[in-house]
């Protein structure tokens, strides 16, 4: 991807996160006047559209976070080979994080 395209995706995922993160914080922290109980969370995630939004949030935030870290590392004067290893490593990490997050949903 060209740097300009990468920035556009960072900007787009960031703007999407404004809404998804605001929703996440409101529902999980402020709505019930504190942290949710286990039963609250199960009931919350039983709603299909909530699953969709929380899943979208997991994928978006993981992408935005790791793409951001990649950008910072690529600022460190890396060789082309090292930059490739960074991209590969962060991609694998991202897939693992998303797989773990999706698995966590299935346990509820």
């Amino acid at each position: 991807m060209r740097p300009k395209t990468q920035w556009l995706w960072q900007a787009f995922s960031g703007l999407l996160l404004v809404f998804l993160l605001a929703l996440h914080l409101t529902v999980n922290h402020f709505a019930a006047g504190g942290l949710l109980t286990y039963e609250d969370i199960v009931a919350y995630l039983a709603q299909p559209w909530v699953r969709v939004l929380e899943t979208l949030f997991l994928l978006t935030v993981t992408y935005h976070a790791l793409a951001g870290v990649r950008g910072i590392l690529l600022d460190l004067n890396l060789t082309t080979a090292a930059a490739r290893r960074v991209t590969l490593g962060l991609t694998v990490l991202g897939v693992l994080i998303c797989a773990y997050g999706l698995w966590l949903f299935t346990t509820l």
Partner: protein, 133 residues
């Protein structure tokens, strides 16, 4: 493309530039905004890992999760959460500012917009702190 051209490494930043983002001298408002955005981004990445690790209690069932909540219910953790809200609020609002700049909107007011983002973030954090304590 011949082989030599193919093997030529991509252009690299001159060495001093690579660490410039962490330097503390000769920084304007834009420079501080950049540093703060980067540091808040890294803090949020760290929090994301921690958060997902702590949530593994969900997979270990209701008892494990309630025990985790009991641990979280301390003034120190709530204070840290207020710090987290401040971090998110600044990164999000300054992020919106950066997107506007990227599309050439309000570029000439970029310093004023930084302070708008900063003050709004402080205000949101204060409101959240009131709601949480």
């Amino acid at each position: 493309m011949n082989a030599e051209e193919y093997r030529r490494p991509a252009p690299r930043l001159p060495a001093p530039q690579a660490k410039e983002w962490l330097a503390f001298s000769k920084r304007g408002v834009g420079g501080w905004a950049f540093l703060l955005h980067r540091l808040t981004g890294l803090v949020l990445v760290f929090y994301l890992f921690l958060h997902l690790a702590v949530l593994s209690a969900l997979a270990r069932g209701p008892q494990a999760y309630q025990a985790m909540l009991a641990f979280m219910d301390s003034p120190l953790i709530v204070a840290l959460e207020v710090g987290l809200i401040a971090t998110i609020a600044f990164h999000a609002l300054n992020g919106i500012r950066l997107v506007l700049m990227g599309f050439g909107v309000g570029v000439r007011a970029h310093k004023a917009l930084f302070w708008v983002a900063f003050v709004l973030a402080a205000g949101l954090t204060a409101l959240a702190a009131l709601a949480m304590f």
